[in-house]
Amino acid sequence: MFHYILKRLLQSLIVLLGVLVIVFFTLRLSGNPIDVLLPPGASEEMVEIYTEQLGLDKSLVAQFGIYLKNIFQGDFGTSYYYKEAVTGVIFERLPATIQLTLFSFLFTLIIGIPAGVYSALKSGKASDYIVRIFALIGQCMPVFWAGLLLIIVFAVQLNLFPTQGTGSFRHLVLPSITLGLYSAATTVRLLRSSMLEVLSKDYIQVATSKGLSKRKIVWKHAFKNAVTAILTVLGIQVAGLLAGSMIVETVFSWPGIGRLVVQSINNRDFAVVQAVVILIASIYVVINLLVDILYSIINPRVRLMKGSSK
């Protein structure tokens, strides 16, 4: 296990380097920050001064070399736009995004698991159809549309929650629901189908016919399936983390990483975009590794190592 993790971590470093190369070069192909930093009336002279000061006059490869060297010294660069260290800019936003992600995950669990189990138990009945239709709609709605509809209904009309911003627990509710809607819906569907599969297995039928408490059996299997479903959804959610938070944070004026990255791209704030991408990629890699390890613990048949025989 230890060797496996070590190997995966080494591979992850290669993956991260690949990600870094892509983001570094595509960013620089996609435009120049000078046009954002200087007012429209700026003279060519000023443009030259800035280009030199930002080191943008060097060749791309040289710039990348410098950047890599600095990273190994723990320096992720300075934000052109905010004119302060990138790490500071990011860590200021990070708690908000983590908070939002955690709560949306919580929402996923609170809604997704009971609804999924319930739907499987009531399979074929009207209540099952209702849950499934809600789940499908949850998966089918564009995120920003869902967010705006929630704002109009729950914030403007019913005045139950604030429309935007951070501060109290109430602020978290609508954005968390919006962000978690897709994963909650996915959880319901995954859990329902895996529960149905288990429930149709012979031994369950036998067990129930022998008079064993169905509830006990259901809960036992529900738990195991739920954990598997959660892990799958966790993987999905991490993969879509940035895309989701970019939109949700914009709709709800949430001061997190998603909005930062949208702005930083618009401003060609190279260092910030690079650092955020590395951060997100690292989270992705680590969570996936954890998910794989957890999978193997829950379901020992899924072995981490595949032998090379036959």
Partner: protein, 324 residues
């Protein structure tokens, strides 16, 4: 008149390297096995599941890579062939697999399955050959338009045999080809196999764990335990006068037809064996289960002992022939 052997196998080895983190474990699936087989005869390869008999079969028919030793077919080496030569070789050696359910592509009609080898090797008159072949294995022509899942197990295995026959090979490997079938069906297929051998002058390698099947089909037998050849002889010699303690064990279990023999009480004994392998010592793998083991058995695998012209065994425990 001495018949020239069609297949000569000498000192064949197939090792698997398992990477376990930084450590490497070597698994000797086939270890220094030699034998030869005359044309028109059947050689039975017998052993428990996991004994390496299937690996040996696959090593001989070149379905595995990186094989050490020598395999001669009609006097020509077939080890380490290039792609084109290997492709050519496939015409000469065919395989019938154990599971008639899994060995046929569920998405293809029988016609396509049988035609495929002809197509690959660009044989003319395919339509005609297909008809001939399906009749040869005793199935009506209408079956050509069916899918595998519409057939019974026995019928499917007939298709498997038909596919193997399509290219008129000189050697066919049967890998547990009847063990997945019901006893009555098993008999039919065995009869078919024997009939075809006579009719077409075929040479067979027949892998099985089932000695009653073995007695029906084989002329000669080799017994494999954990990758090592432990006893070799004519089928009567092996079944009626087994010498090696392992062979004896196999033979004594005959009544339980169809069931793999599970005598290995793993645990402690496994550990001893594994240790032995790890230390790179070349002892007798049967040591832990052997009733007549000696200390030398741990250190060195025994040399060949000859009981008769045709009957060989490998055991330290048997000091003279009289003891048998």
């Amino acid at each position: 008149m001495t018949v020239h052997p069609i297949l000569e196998v000498s000192d064949v080895k197939k090792y698997f390297v398992m990477k376990n983190g930084l450590k490497k474990d070597v698994i000797k699936a086939v270890d220094r096995i030699s034998f030869s087989l005359e044309a028109g005869k059947t050689l039975g390869i017998v052993g428990e599941s996991g004994s390496g008999k299937s690996t040996l079969g696959r090593a001989i028919v070149q379905l595995l890579h990186d094989i050490e030793g020598e395999v001669l077919l009609n006097g020509k080496s077939i080890i380490g062939l290039k792609r084109k030569e290997l492709q050519k070789l496939r015409e000469d050696i065919q395989v019938v697999f154990q599971d008639p359910y899994a060995s046929l592509d569920p998405k293809q009609k029988i016609k396509k399955i049988i035609a495929e080898p002809l197509k690959i090797h660009k044989k003319p008159d395919r339509e005609k050959s297909i008809h001939e072949i399906i009749e040869l294995v005793g199935l009506p022509v209408e079956f050509l338009e069916r899918y595998p899942h519409e057939l019974s197990g026995g019928q499917r295995q007939r298709i498997g045999i038909a596919r193997a026959l399509a290219l008129s090979p000189s050697l066919i490997l049967f890998d547990e080809a009847v063990s997945a079938l019901d006893v009555s069906v098993q008999a039919q297929i065995i009869n078919l196999i024997k009939k075809l051998q006579n009719q077409l002058k075929l040479t067979y390698l027949f892998i099985t764990h089932d000695l009653s099947v073995l007695r029906q089909v084989a002329d000669e037998v080799i017994v494999i335990y954990r990758g090592k050849l432990v006893e070799k002889g004519k089928v009567e010699e092996i079944i009626d006068q087994p010498v090696h303690p392992y062979t004896k064990l196999l033979v004594s279990a005959i009544p339980e037809i169809g069931k793999p023999i599970v005598l290995d009480e793993a645990g402690e004994e496994e550990k001893v064996i594994n240790q032995m392998f790890e230390e790179g010592e070349d002892g007798c793998p049967f040591y832990s289960r052997c009733e007549i083991r000696k200390s030398i058995c741990l250190k060195k695998f025994p040399e060949i002992s000859k009981l008769s012209e045709t009957h060989d065994y490998y055991c330290h425990g048997i000091s003279n022939k009289k003891e048998i």
